[in-house]
Subunit: 231 residues, 4 copies
């Protein structure tokens, strides 16, 4: 990830713990995402579950993100997610502080540092413009503004609450010029994505909009058209 080159939008598909994207289906969906992206020259990434990272990473070349890491170093931390293990499994980045996996402030900085140490890209999430700026101070590669109340709602943040995106962009840029800004929550169509890019986002995080779609390829193709239209 070249974070300071924001010319190409980045679309991260978060698989959450959806059964439609678990195990073999995570690998299959990742392949289809890669294929659509390759055809349209649009940059996608996937964030499968921890147990699926290795199998997904073995099958695709697009970035594979963990959905969470713990701020631990190698040692006696049973049940925790070590940055090194994500890397060893073929992961290339990680989400941090997703609204469904909120962490303590102190752990955000530690996790960003741990990820950087092992060469993982980072996308730190926040639910409000002020918190988006706050996490930008920890210098991750990406900040993702996702208002929790719109996540999974089908109502796109970029259309329903465009001011949240613009306000986040303004507040983030006041403290960090080199972070890629993503937005997410409720994005399900190319129009939603196009609106997000116009508001200043350099990418999006999408989950149910793709994973739960009857035909994910249709949504992905729609996204690609929006990116091409924008560029």
């Amino acid at each position: 990830m070249r974070t300071s080159d924001f010319s190409e939008p980045f679309l991260l598909i978060n698989f959450k713990t959806y059964i439609e994207a678990t195990g073999k289906r995570a690998v299959d969906l990742s392949r289809r995402i890669e294929e659509v992206g390759k055809s349209a020259d649009v940059r996608f990434g996937v964030a499968p579950q921890l147990c699926d990272i290795a199998q997904v990473a073995a099958q695709v070349e697009i970035p594979v993100f963990a959905q969470h890491i713990d701020p631990v170093t190698p040692g006696a931390f049973t049940g925790h997610v070590l940055a090194e293990s994500v890397k060893a499994a073929g992961g290339s980045g990680t989400l941090i502080n997703h609204s469904e996996r909120n962490v303590q402030l102190i752990d955000i900085e530690k996790s960003v540092l741990r990820a950087r140490e092992v060469g993982l890209s980072t996308a730190v999430c926040a639910g409000t413009p002020r918190l988006a700026a706050a996490v930008a101070l920890t210098e991750p590669e990406m900040v993702a503004i996702e208002p929790p109340e719109l996540i999974g709602s089908g109502r796109a943040v970029s259309k329903e609450r465009p001011e949240i995106v613009t306000d986040s962009v303004r507040k983030i840029r006041a403290v960090n010029q080199n972070v890629r800004i993503l937005c997410g929550a409720g994005i399900t169509t190319g129009d939603d994505l196009y609106a997000a890019l116009k508001l200043g986002a350099q990418g999006v995080i999408v989950a149910s909009g793709v994973v739960k779609a009857p035909k994910p390829e249709d949504v992905l193709t729609d996204f690609c058209k929006a990116v091409r239209k924008y560029l």
Copy 2:
């Protein structure tokens, strides 16, 4: 795992987040553990990190445990560990409530139920005899008594504090006759293991004693001799 057949001890090797047992090294160590066990007809299992489960399970036939699962169902639970994903990756069981990953009481029962629903074996940990009996009431396949103060100490619970093991066995059996009882903490030699079995344990959990050993095979072989001596 046939939990009610306690005649054959079960030795679960917990890889924690040790760098010596991360990624390829997790696969390699698992293979060596399997080999020693096969030679000596002793039942081993391994508990690698979540990201390593798929690769380990693809290479060995012995039971592969997760170190933790979350009590979530398929859905919007970014960053959580879904029982189904452990199963899909080839896992056959999970630790729950390890002292390095303590969970709320309510989540112990939920996690045991979730594991059972998807066909994962369960080993619930507790740090005191009373809590070992308490978790036995949630009807997991195994209960593991591990006094936190001895974990990683090199001083075996079975020798240093034998009364903790016997007291746990007594308290657990008073409420549950069908659960396999493991003990752990500081076990590094065949003698430690033999003592544990004599005290009434039907197996052990070992971590640094194997993972951090200069020659893990030597420790594993020593364990096998202790099991054969005991049987």
Copy 3:
């Protein structure tokens, strides 16, 4: 609290963080509860918020419970609830593991021990019969079975799900004969309370049923009639 004398039911009114029972209103409500109890010779206790314990305890003689304590000893634990401070404020007991303040299994045992050390009575909550028995093993003075799904529902556990109460009583008594068994969730009338006592509970926990009642005295008086009818 003489826990082994179960002849007199104990009715604990949990003030939660209801504004109707905060500050002066906590003191006022406690006085009214005491008065009704005294008139009818029925044993009530109150569980106000931490900041209100001292003022409430200065004004009433009935037991004043904390809603939560932390398993810490005196020392550097900023923001935690020290058992000694509850006691010093005039508290005589504490709830532990309420479904709105779930704690780790390990902290339940520690908290019960800490409370006992300083002379606080303990009422440990659990949401299912099995967990009620599990917490009974930590030997608190009281166990409270409260199915989370009925809390605040207005549908009484003792009427809606009587088998939860009887099953809890059976499972608890199998492991602990000396603990007082309370039940709670949805109890708002004397009938609900009477049903609970008939099912084997030696008391109840009530929150919104009293605190949010238009006329708390009417509910309290109804409770007293139920107790007198039962005895």
Copy 4:
């Protein structure tokens, strides 16, 4: 608290859960702190335990802070700390995110908002300069930089790691000109305090340095001399 008037340093004494500052001893210590401050015209505040706020606030006129509040509104939140209850008990402010009571990032913003709604002053803690700036974006009245590794160490942050203070001041001021900056950790003498003020802090948080001192008045008097020397 007039936060934008930084001319008078503010010295907040954190009682933690020290037994020397629990119950009556909290009231007594608060009185002595007030007295020394009044004599020397130096502004002190105290942060006793939650159960002690009401009794302390009834006896002193200096600001009384909670050590923690939860980001909850009035309602069914058993065992949580409601901002309104701190206010009703006579509290005038609250610590948030102390390193011994770390909270999730999202809860910092919510807690600051809740405190402001009820008229409580806020002092948000952070352990590193970057995080100090991050929390400053939530617009509390005060930000406290306290490196966890020096807390309780007896080695003053202002002398041992002066660059942490200056770096924090610089980073905080880049994003917030109206927040009072406190520093803490290891401050036990007037010299430590003087050094902190010279580095740009507008106050300090002190705990064991006062609470555990053989003669707290001596330390407090020493602090006052340092303030007078600085002004």
